[in-house]
Amino acid sequence: MNEFKILGEFFFSQLLGKPIYDKSGQKIGKIRDMAVCWDGSYPQIVGIKYARHTQELIAIEQIESCSYQEVRLREKFQREQTVSLEESHIYISKWLLDKQIIDLKGSKIVRVNDITLSWVTQMDHQRMILVAVDIGVRGLFRRLGLEFLFNSYKNNLLGWQYIKPLESWNSNLQLNHEKQQLSELHPADMADLIEDMDYKRRADFIDNLDDQQAIDALAEMDLESQVEIIEQMDEQRASDILEEMAPDEAADILVELTAEKSEGLLKLMEDDDAEEMRELMQYEEGTAGSLMTTEFIAFSARLTTEEVINQLRKLAPEAETIYYLYVIDQEEHLLGVLSLRELIVASPSAVLQDLMHTKLLTVKPKDDDQRVAEVINKYGLLAVPVVDEENVILGIVTVDDILDILIPERGKFDAYSWFALSKRGGRGR
């Protein structure tokens, strides 16, 4: 009873420009565009734009038959029966066809070559539904009138559930399920998407992410893109985001900005965060000092395992890594280190002093990144502490910070190229 019956399936590109006749056989106009309402459970066509300079549409209910040759109306055409375009409706030729959209299934940006529509009837009620967009080569050649060359190819259709149009439509079109699907993307995929967008869309897109999503995505980008995005962002938001990022990465970004801009952002931060950034910003690029984070976990040597585990629960969310626990004295001299595993298997009453290793591998803040990479690589560490001349611990460099040096990303132009167009191809996968 509730069943759909399909009356016809159409490629939108093949309907465009086809004549519209009313019951009396009079030609009303041509199919110039169609308006779709994206609000309901699925996108439905609400009306057909039939003439150039009008926002009045022929309501879809008026249509008696539809084919690739012509469209016929049920009654005699009367202007009073047209419907007007509402705010939540969009034109699909103007805003969707040929445009870039986010393919939420493959999490990449694709171009719409065609749109498929389905003409269905349900309990004597006829509707036209936007079923999918065509992002394949066959769709492209259909537009050129050369589809026959690609008849053996399958159409590469992407269901409407999986698309997110990029154009800045009304915000009420940002449906909840889209937001949810976006939040389910891996931050690295999201980063790729954002890097592929032009700067206006980027700004729109990032405005719609919450802070945590923005931070996660930003952390996955290369420095050049990070800097660009922070530069274009609203100052207050930029400083909030930088504060929440790993301090070493935030400091790297701040160093790349103009002095004026970075000073402005630092002023908006909380005092101790700003202080920490300023310290990190002093180190030259490519040294252990610039790579290190100051968010490591250190304890006094006199604590017992049980006390440490309790404290760890509180500290863990902030720290970059909890797999190594550093042991320090009152003046923050580095005394020893132990791993999380060693901590957990030890008896609850054991004191750190007795558990820690005192033979330490450390680097100095001025050591270059190659040396840091060598130490981490050779000894198979997850992190290495950075200490000054007096053996006071300043921070740690974790393995993910030097991964780029150990395994360079494929085919990447470095930032000094004048001629090559790098960005769109810039990221590794």
Partner: protein, 422 residues
């Protein structure tokens, strides 16, 4: 290692301050075909084409400004915008135009490479395949951006034409007068030379490239005023070099009734400066310019086409992930090198002909550009003003007219004679 990198980047820092995409494009524009065309123009018509060079440089400034502004305001490439505004069919047309023009230009770059090696007695059958492979490999697998500096420095040797021109000390009064006096002839060869000069100064690929470079470097409408001057400076450089090549070749070759048979003859104009080392100096410059353009031309073409049709692109992708991108890139290099290697084909003619092809194919691209830049929906308050549109349309129409004249002179010389009343 790190320290070397650092000092290199600071040393180049100065260039960065001066060189934006506008100046960079200008340097890439004075490629093998450009040098050949200017030299031929100077040798054959003396100072006669200086006026054409001036006008086409002004038009270059306008065209590049339009592309740069569109890039900065929209953050999108030219092919992207053509696709979104004009649909698949027009995009297909524009990309076909771009591909044909760029196959020609790539062939002329490889001809330039072949010529620069021939000066040292190395056959083109050895140099071209090796350099073609090198270009292909360095961009996709190697470290292209390091080697780029070397070729860029080599390019700078073309500045020696300025020195040479000054040493020759031509009759400056006559030169200045020729630069501002409109000279025209309906003769097929003159037309071809004039279109060649325009086609080498303003290229379809240059328009796509500068817009992509602006987008790539993240320049936005906010920073556009710097870019404006950068573009103007670039156009000025293009004019300066073209001007002195013509002056130098006119004063040395044309004055002595020596016509250019091969590009190597263009080196003779450097003799006042470098004496017997002139041809070595020339070959270095030619190699630098040709290699630079051979690197970026196929790459920027592949980007433009993929952007328009929504194919995956990027040098960091594998050929499986981005098959179309890699096919176009590779095919352009193969075709370009293949044409340059064609037995019996004069390298010099390839260079000249490709510039004429560029000139003929330029108007359609210009039309797209001007239409986009005057579209208020896209450009907002940065859209073309009325007088700007008048200038751009006039230039486009003049170029179309010249192209038609050229075609006419090739098909039916007598009809043409009738029209211009000879």
């Amino acid at each position: 290692m790190t320290t070397i990198k650092k000092s290199l980047s600071t040393r180049f820092g100065f260039f960065f301050a001066v060189m934006g995409p506008g100046v960079v494009t200008a340097f890439a524009d004075n490629d093998a075909g450009g040098i050949a065309t200017y030299a031929a123009a100077g040798a054959k018509y003396g100072y006669g084409l200086l006026f054409t060079v001036l006008i086409s440089s002004i038009c270059l400034a306008i065209a590049q400004e339009i592309s740069a502004r569109t890039g900065a305001v929209t953050g999108r490439g030219l092919s992207d915008l053509i696709r979104e505004l004009f649909g698949v069919k027009w995009t297909f047309f524009a990309m076909t135009v771009l591909l044909i023009a760029n196959i020609g230009t790539t062939a002329s770059e490889f001809s330039g490479i072949a010529t620069s090696f021939e000066i040292f007695g190395i056959s083109k059958y050895i140099s071209v395949p090796i350099m073609a492979f090198l270009v292909w490999w360095l961009v996709l697998k190697g470290n292209y951006s390091r080697i780029e500096k070397v070729f860029f420095m080599l390019c700078a040797t073309f500045l020696s034409y300025i020195v040479s021109g000054l040493i020759i000390n031509p009759p400056w009064g006559e030169v200045v007068l020729a630069s501002v006096t409109p000279t025209f002839s309906g003769e097929g060869e003159f037309l071809m030379m004039a279109i060649g000069v325009i086609g080498t100064t303003i290229t379809p690929w240059g328009q796509f490239y500068i817009q992509a470079a602006i987008v790539d470097k993240g320049i936005t409408a906010k920073d556009y005023r710097y870019t404006f001057w950068d573009v103007m400076l670039g156009a000025f450089f293009t004019w300066l070099i073209a001007f002195f090549i013509i002056v130098a070749t006119a004063a040395t070759l044309h004055a002595n009734h020596i016509s250019i048979e091969t590009v190597k003859d263009a080196a003779m104009a450097l003799e006042p400066l470098a004496g017997k080392y002139a041809s070595i100096l020339f070959s270095f410059g030619l190699l630098g310019a040709s290699m630079l353009a051979a690197f970026i031309l196929p790459l920027s073409t592949a980007y433009a086409v993929c952007e328009a049709f929504g194919f995956e692109s990027g040098v960091s992708k594998t050929s499986k992930e981005a098959p179309v991108f890699f096919s176009i890139y590779t095919a352009l290099i193969l075709l370009g090198a293949g044409i340059a290697l064609w037995p019996g084909l004069s390298l010099y003619k390839v260079m000249l002909a490709s510039q004429v092809v560029n000139g003929v194919l330029l108007p359609p691209i210009l039309i797209f550009m001007v239409l986009i830049a005057s579209n208020g929906l896209i450009m907002g308050k940065y859209a073309n003003t009325t007088w700007y549109n008048i200038v751009s349309w006039t230039f486009t129409i003049v170029l179309i007219f010249l192209t038609l004249l050229l075609l006419l002179s090739a098909i039916a010389p007598s009809v043409l004679d009738f029209f211009i009343g000879r």
